[in-house]
């Protein structure tokens, strides 16, 4: 059955939704829009919807990639055009297309870009010094609890591909490894770098990448 691939933005208070809540919100929006979802068999039929690299609570996003399995094909352009009937205001569909079958979205993602806007005062030099210091290291170990509860050392330095400060809008741009092979969350890095309270940071995902023939390309 055909899959609908969507690119969406998550704005405003919707950043507070957990991944599960976002998932349910999308399912109900699609139902309201009358999109013919394909359902699993059994007593509790559920649709097949997946997100690339689920966002942590609190994060805004310019780049949500979603796959939805359909019972029959639809015209994605038409759905995008009338989306305001059915989606919460802060969830905006940007693009849509039909794809044949769903590769596992999560497996494809290798990297994400984030912009972290700082809602607190801190001198530019101080921030830049800290960033330089970090980037000049060969490795930077953090303690990480594994799923099984063991504590491991993890080197996050190689996971950070870009890290810059932008004085103009008092924000930090970062490009980080994402996915099942190597994964680093923006707030984990921020915590290593600074002791800013989380609630003073506006984190926004700006891009997701996959790799094709050794090159990084946009996921959507």
């Amino acid at each position: 059955m055909p899959f609908l691939q969507l690119l969406a933005k998550k704005e405003g208070n919707l950043r507070f939704l957990s991944h599960l809540e976002t998932h349910k919100m999308l399912e109900r929006s699609l139902r309201r829009a009358g999109v013919p979802l394909a359902f699993s068999q059994g007593f509790n039929p559920h649709p097949n919807i997946s997100f690339a690299a689920p966002l942590p609570v609190g994060t805004l996003s310019d780049y949500e990639v979603i796959h939805v399995e359909l019972a029959v094909g639809i015209d994605p352009g038409e759905l995008i055009a009338r989306q305001r009937c059915c989606f919460p205001g802060d969830f905006v569909l940007l693009k849509g297309k039909l794809v044949e079958k769903s590769p596992s979205l999560m497996k494809e993602v290798v990297r994400s870009d984030y912009r972290v806007t700082l809602n607190l005062s801190c001198a530019a030099e101080e921030i830049e010094d800290r960033i330089r210091e970090f980037l000049n290291q060969d490795s930077h170990l953090i303690r990480k609890r594994t799923k099984k509860g063991r504590i491991n050392d993890l080197d996050i330095r190689p996971q950070v591909r870009t890290l810059t400060y932008d004085e103009k809008d008092h924000s930090i741009f970062m490009s980080l490894d994402t996915g099942s092979v190597s994964n680093l969350k923006p707030l984990v890095l921020m915590k290593e770098l600074f002791d800013f309270p989380e609630e003073k940071l506006d984190v926004r995902r700006t891009m997701l990448y996959k790799s094709k023939d050794g090159e990084l390309i946009e996921l959507y």
């Binding site: 939704l17 809540e21 109900r28 039929p45 205001g89």
Partner: protein
């Protein structure tokens, strides 16, 4: 993030406070709007599952000049954030303080939420007592089933709405506008509208034993008694074509269609069964249209057909069949809140099962036939056992049965009968089913005598007796197929005090709130000893409110009329003593009186 967003982010569950759900209403805040906060004195998950909220919210917001927003009790983490930062509690829609409202409307669903009402006022910087509030403060009103005994909150509320709120709430807001929003004038005029109770216009005196000596209006032109309001035409009444769709998983997350109001069964313990009389049904056409609209507008995957006793709907079979047919393709399921113990229920279940297997719960209420006759619960052992046999052979393995402890005249024999029922059902399961997966949940709650019922004069059972009854069942139901759920009798004790309380309890609530008591409905916060200390410090004996009362005594809620005659309640109480049954009044009127007087010909 702005300061409020920061604490929303830091809270345990941000989606309780963020607002912005689909079908939320926003309006530009200009000076002309009448601003109304619908306040639910419990957390978001509970409040958003309450049908009355969705009805009133949309009804008010469909009026151009009214803006209704929502506010819930903040959970304790949010309460702390607000206090630490000196911020006011806020509405979900525009994050406004309740002090910016014209009205705050509380819904009273259970007595143990009363301290949460005071906490909401406190976190908004609004004085608890009505007489301490000024013209700049919002008017504080309340409605809902607990409002049938408004007295424990009479000094806190400016106004109560008695009965169904659809028509009267709009009338009140129109009056407010017509009187140029003059709050004093408004209260005086409102007090004359049928269904409105403005406590400050009534004076109560007590005798030496604290019994009520007199209760009367203290102002010319104020009616002595307040009759409830009902909607006569359920097919014409407003029903919301949309409902807010919560982001988080709330208690009931589904489209809800109310199919009728009232109940004819006449169970003697049941307040809802008395105060919501008479029965008024919607037609199947209206129900199907409302279901269709709600599914389109919400995207829900389930429709719940709600009422006090859904299977008593006169055309329930065809209705369910047609709804299932219509919604099968989009995999929308139908759910029924409660089931009757009879073969008809089993027929209906077979239909519903085709799409989705729902959990099965049945209210048996009492273990022995004798006691079921006392409470007029028309269920026999045979009904129970044949129903169980059919549902087990249809493939169900999980059943939950509800009982009450502490009913009038109850003895240990009646409690033991609950165990007997458990074992018999287990034996039936073994006989008819080859599966070995039975989970029989037996749940007991504690009977609390409620105003406007035939048992309103009865005593609350003692804590010691209730404890030993629970302990007996804990032991008796130790079998791997059984699960026993029970209720802390101490919280029912407090519920009982407030259910039949009088005006003197206002000071108890205020003292409790000042001492930080709230969330009494939540086991982790309920502090019985603290409550007893509060009563003691005010020299008020809680037992006074739990005692048996004479028919002659003036009850604190006697000025409120549910439409059911006191004489009828007395007759029912007398019949209960002999275990005499009263038939379901669908099969012929039993003369409760609701069709007489101001409600007119309604049955």
């Amino acid at each position: 993030m702005k300061p409020l967003e920061e604490i929303i982010y830091l809270s345990e569950k941000p989606s309780r406070y963020m607002g912005g759900e689909f079908n939320q209403v926003l309006k530009p805040l200009d000076g002309d709007l009448i601003r109304f906060a619908f306040a639910f004195p419990d957390i978001y998950e509970v409040g958003m599952s309450h049908l009355g909220l969705h009805i009133l919210y949309n009804l008010l917001n469909d009026r151009e000049n009214i803006f209704c927003e929502r506010v819930f009790s903040p959970w304790v983490d949010m309460e702390k954030h607000l206090k630490d930062r000196g911020l006011d509690l806020f509405t979900l829609e525009t994050k406004s303080s309740l002090r910016d409202m014209d009205f705050i409307g509380f819904t009273l669903q259970y007595e143990l939420s009363y301290t949460n009402i005071l906490k909401i006022l406190e976190l908004s910087g609004i004085p608890y007592y009505a007489e301490e509030r000024e013209a700049s403060h919002p008017l504080v009103m309340a409605g809902g089933s607990c409002g049938y005994n408004p007295e424990p909150l009479a000094l806190i509320m400016d106004l109560f709405v008695i009965g169904e709120g659809e028509e009267i709430t709009l009338e009140l807001l129109e009056l407010y506008e017509a009187l140029d929003r003059d709050k004093e004038k408004f209260l005086f005029e409102a007090a004359k509208i049928p269904g409105v109770y403005v406590p400050k216009f009534y004076e109560v005196t007590y005798d030496r034993d604290h019994r009520i000596e007199s209760f009367r209006p203290n102002t010319e032109g104020i009616p002595a008694r307040i009759g409830k309001r009902i909607v006569k035409d359920m097919n014409g009444v407003y029903y919301p074509p949309r409902m807010i769709v919560p982001f988080m998983d709330v208690v009931h997350n589904r489209a809800v269609v109310e199919i009728f109001r009232g109940c004819t069964a006449g169970c003697r313990f049941c307040q809802a069964g008395m105060i919501y009389r008479p029965v008024r049904e919607k037609t199947p056409e209206v129900i199907k249209q409302e279901a269709r609209d709600l599914i389109d507008a919400t995207g829900y995957e389930e429709i719940s057909l709600t009422s006090l006793s859904t299977l008593d709907y006169s055309q329930i079979g065809p209705l369910i069949r047609e709804l299932m047919e219509e919604h099968e393709a989009s995999k929308v399921g139908i759910s029924l809140p409660s089931l009757r113990l009879d073969s008809y229920s089993v027929e209906v279940l077979k239909e519903v099962q085709k799409v989705r297997k729902t959990g099965l719960t049945f209210a048996v209420e009492a273990g022995s036939q004798r006691l079921r006759d006392v409470i007029n619960k028309g269920v026999t052992e045979e009904d129970l056992y044949t129903t169980m046999e059919s549902i087990f052979s249809l493939g169900w393995d999980r059943v939950k049965l509800y009982f009450m402890l502490g009913l009038p005249t109850e003895t240990m024999e009646d409690v033991k009968a609950i165990q007997t029922i458990g074992s018999s059902i287990e034996a039936i399961y073994r006989r008819v089913s080859s599966r070995k997966r039975l989970t029989l949940t037996i749940s007991t709650s504690v009977f609390v005598p409620k105003p406007h019922t035939p048992f309103q004069w009865e005593a609350f059972d003692t804590l010691e007796a209730l404890k030993s009854k629970e302990n007996f069942l804990k032991d008796a139901l130790k079998h791997k197929a059984f699960k026993y759920q029970y209720h802390d009798p101490k919280s029912s004790y407090l519920e009982g005090v407030f259910a039949r309380g009088d005006r003197r309890l206002n000071q108890v609530l205020v003292r409790a709130a000042r001492e930080g008591i709230r969330f009494d409905g939540w086991q982790e916060f309920f502090d019985f000893d603290h409550w007893m200390a509060v009563f003691k410090s005010l020299d008020i004996d809680p037992e006074f409110y739990l005692r048996r009362r004479d028919y002659e005594e003036t009850l604190p809620w006697d000025h409120i009329e549910s439409g059911v005659d006191k004489a009828y309640l007395i007759k029912e109480n007398e019949k209960s003593k002999n275990g005499e049954l009263t038939r379901d009044c669908r099969r012929g009127c039993t003369g409760c009186g609701v069709n007489q007087g101001h409600l007119g010909e309604v049955c």
